[in-house]
């Protein structure tokens, strides 16, 4: 803390400005600020914890398989060829946890329709859900960024074409198209991802376009042009960074949406083929004959996981939105 030798305000020596004290407030970048706020958001932190657990649960699928000795996609219930097979309840066939590993022991029960072990199916189903959620969101956001940047920055004819395309996609009957695709093509993980991405990019693209429209009029963009920056450079280095916040928030919400949509499609029977584990189909297997009345666990386990997963991604998205809001109160 060095004090200026003289305090005479006039004349000011421009090229030798006085050193004024030390700067006590530390410099904080946008990410540091975001993390600082997110750390205080209990709901968002709980969501992060749940999401980490969920990824671990999905990653551990082969471990569950060998632990229970029930390979996925094989019927493990005795006499499964019998159509009138009954579901096995939680801890069915087990006398205690030590029995795990025996063919007849099912910790979370087993489905009557396929004879699959619930625990193993849930964990492989988590893989499916997370993969579809993350990959379809990545594609959606990438397409939306390109479209939004192009439409917003170039304006005129390009903007007109892209904006009308967004209107058309928005007006398209999404579910009907998804059902049609799954009947025409043999549906697999990629057709589901394609359908989700093809019909969700327009929404974030509109957000990004609107954002770019206002960003391109900001003076720092003119300043960059004045310095001789090319259009690609301006888009990449001066406009895109301002969209990162919106992208992160939207991606989080979008993962939840995609997971729910895949579950809905699979529930309706138009989603993934029978050999790919899916929470949606697990729920649907509890429906025929009102089975859920006698064996509610068939619906409760996958249903709860689905709800919690969607909730966690949504709450994380909300938390991120608050944390990235420049008008947000740091000391909330």
């Amino acid at each position: 803390m060095s004090m200026p030798p003289a305090m005479s305000p006039i004349p000011v020596d421009v090229l030798a400005p006085r050193e004024v004290g030390g700067h006590s407030a530390p410099t904080r970048g946008p990410w540091a600020l975001m993390w600082r706020r997110l750390r205080r958001d209990k709901a968002a932190l709980a969501s992060v914890a749940f999401i980490i657990l969920l990824f671990s649960f999905a990653a551990a699928a082969p471990l569950f398989e060998s632990w229970t000795n029930h390979p996925q996609n094989t019927s493990n219930v005795a006499g499964s060829d019998d159509v009138t097979l009954l579901p096995v309840g939680p801890l069915g066939g087990c006398d205690g946890v030590t029995d795990v590993g025996k063919d007849t022991c099912f910790i979370l029960g087993a489905s009557n329709v396929s004879g699959h072990d619930m625990l193993v199916q849930l964990s492989y189903g988590a893989r499916t859900s997370l993969f579809i959620g993350v990959v379809s969101t990545a594609i959606t956001v990438a397409v939306a960024l390109v479209m939004g940047l192009l439409a917003g920055y170039s304006g005129g004819f390009t903007d007109g074409v892209i904006s009308r395309l967004m209107d058309v996609v928005a007006a398209f009957p999404f579910l009907l198209f998804a059902i049609a695709v799954s009947t025409v093509f043999r549906s697999n993980v990629w057709t589901v991802i394609f359908v989700i991405a093809a019909f969700s990019w327009f929404y974030p693209a509109r957000l990004f376009r609107a954002e770019v429209l206002s960003l391109r009029e900001r003076e720092f963009v003119s300043a960059a042009r004045m310095l001789g920056a090319s259009t690609p450079r301006i888009l990449r280095k001066h406009i895109f960074p301002h969209l990162v916040g919106a992208t992160v928030v939207y991606a989080s919400l979008s993962i939840a949406g995609a997971i729910l949509f895949e579950a809905a499609l699979s529930y309706l029977g138009f989603g993934l083929p029978a050999d790919i584990p899916s929470w949606g189909r697990m729920i649907s297997q509890a429906v025929p004959g009102g089975l859920y009345r006698n064996a509610p666990y068939l619906m409760i386990f996958p249903g709860t996981l689905l709800v919690l997963t969607a909730l966690a991604f949504n709450m994380l998205g909300d938390g991120l939105r608050d944390a990235l809001d420049p008008k947000g109160n740091v000391d909330r």
């Binding site: 305000p9 000011v12 421009v14 090229l15 030798a16 400005p17 006085r18 050193e19 004024v20 700067h23 407030a25 410099t27 904080r28 970048g29 946008p30 304006g155 005129g156 900001r218 003076e219 720092f220 003119s222 300043a223 960059a224 042009r225 004045m226 310095l227 001789g228 920056a229 090319s230 450079r233 280095k237 001066h238 960074p241 301002h242």
Partner: protein, 336 residues
């Protein structure tokens, strides 16, 4: 030949209401180491002329004609790639509002270094940073090394304007265009920034075009001055000639409305009326409807720039030279 020669520059914007002729037939020139001031009230085409010269106006709405010779190149004929290469390297510009001209998501150091890296892809990050630091020192930013890591919101308006000047000057441009660089700053900071521009002009020998509506600044800083009104040049000349012997009634009005000349007079003088719409400008002299010396001829004939007393001093007015000189004698030198 001067560094920048602008001949008969016209810029118009097509709007839903019709063609707005923002700049009509503007000519001036600046040479190395000289400062040209452009004065005039808001909307008279000062900024638009500069943006036209730098070709920073959207081509969709604006159309520009005339000749802008910069160092032997006609800027209005140059390709987009040539212009991109000239901007920031040979011609740089400082904007009015330093609060919004810096990108809020990047550190100061990155932004100043980028100005250099845009034009020199071979420049390493470390070298660019070193140059950025040297530049911040040159524009008088205290503890430049620490400031490189600051974000724009952590700096005051004056500091940000210094950063903008550092960015504009990092490639040693031959021409610096300053578009009201002190308007958004308080008076003490203004003085520092003006002093800085003056020093840089002498040290680097760059030409400076200084846009302002502050006549005091013009008197202090500029060598030549162009007075614009409603898209046209009404008077042009050396700063002493224009301030000591102003020839155009609009210039009289501008000088007369300066405060401080006579502290005992109760009210500030102001020119009655407001500038004409550029959508449908009047025929004849555009200042006619506000001019106290207006004659019939003024409403029909457009006055051309004619020589006035002094060196390279021109005025666009129909008044007889004797009347103009009589009126000019009432200005004992403005604030100069």
């Amino acid at each position: 030949m001067a560094l920048l020669e602008v001949h008969d520059l016209h810029t118009s914007f097509s709007t839903d209401d019709g063609l707005v002729r923002a700049v009509e037939g503007v000519s001036f020139s600046v040479d190395h180491g000289r400062v040209l001031g452009i004065v005039g009230e808001s909307g008279c085409g000062k900024s638009v002329s500069m943006l036209s010269i730098m070709r920073l106006l959207s081509m969709r709405q604006a159309s520009t004609s005339g000749r802008v010779m910069f160092d032997g190149v006609d800027l209005l004929e140059a390709s987009a790639a040539e212009m991109q290469n000239l901007r920031g390297r040979e011609i740089a510009m400082i904007f009015q509002d330093p609060m919004t001209s810096l990108n809020p998501v990047y550190r100061i150091g990155w932004q100043v270094a980028e100005a250099a890296r845009i034009h020199d892809a071979t420049l390493s990050k470390a070298e660019a940073n070193k140059r950025a630091e040297a530049m911040l020192t040159a524009v008088g930013i205290p503890s430049p090394r620490e400031r490189l890591a600051s974000y724009p919101h952590e700096l005051s308006g004056g500091m940000r304007q210094r950063v903008m000047i550092a960015m504009a000057l990092i490639n040693n441009p031959k021409l610096l265009i300053a578009d009201e660089p002190t308007t958004a700053l308080d008076v003490t900071t203004q003085a520092q920034i003006l002093e800085l521009i003056r020093t840089l002009r002498t040290d680097l020998g760059s030409a400076v075009v200084f846009i302002t509506h502050d006549l005091g600044v013009v008197a202090e800083l500029c060598d030549e001055v162009v007075v614009m009104y409603a898209g046209k040049v009404v008077e042009r000349g050396g700063v002493r000639d224009v301030f000591h012997a102003p020839q155009h009634p609009y210039t009289w009005g501008l000088l007369g409305s300066l405060p401080g000349r006579n502290l005992r007079s109760k009210r500030l003088f102001s020119i009655a009326g407001s500038p004409p719409s550029l959508l449908d400008p009047p025929t004849g002299c555009r200042f006619a409807m506000r001019c106290i010396h207006v004659m019939d001829r003024c409403r029909n004939d457009e006055p051309a720039l004619v020589s006035a007393p002094g060196d390279e001093h021109f005025v666009a007015c129909h008044l007889a030279p004797e009347i103009r000189n009589d009126a000019a004698n009432q200005f004992p030198g403005g604030t100069a």
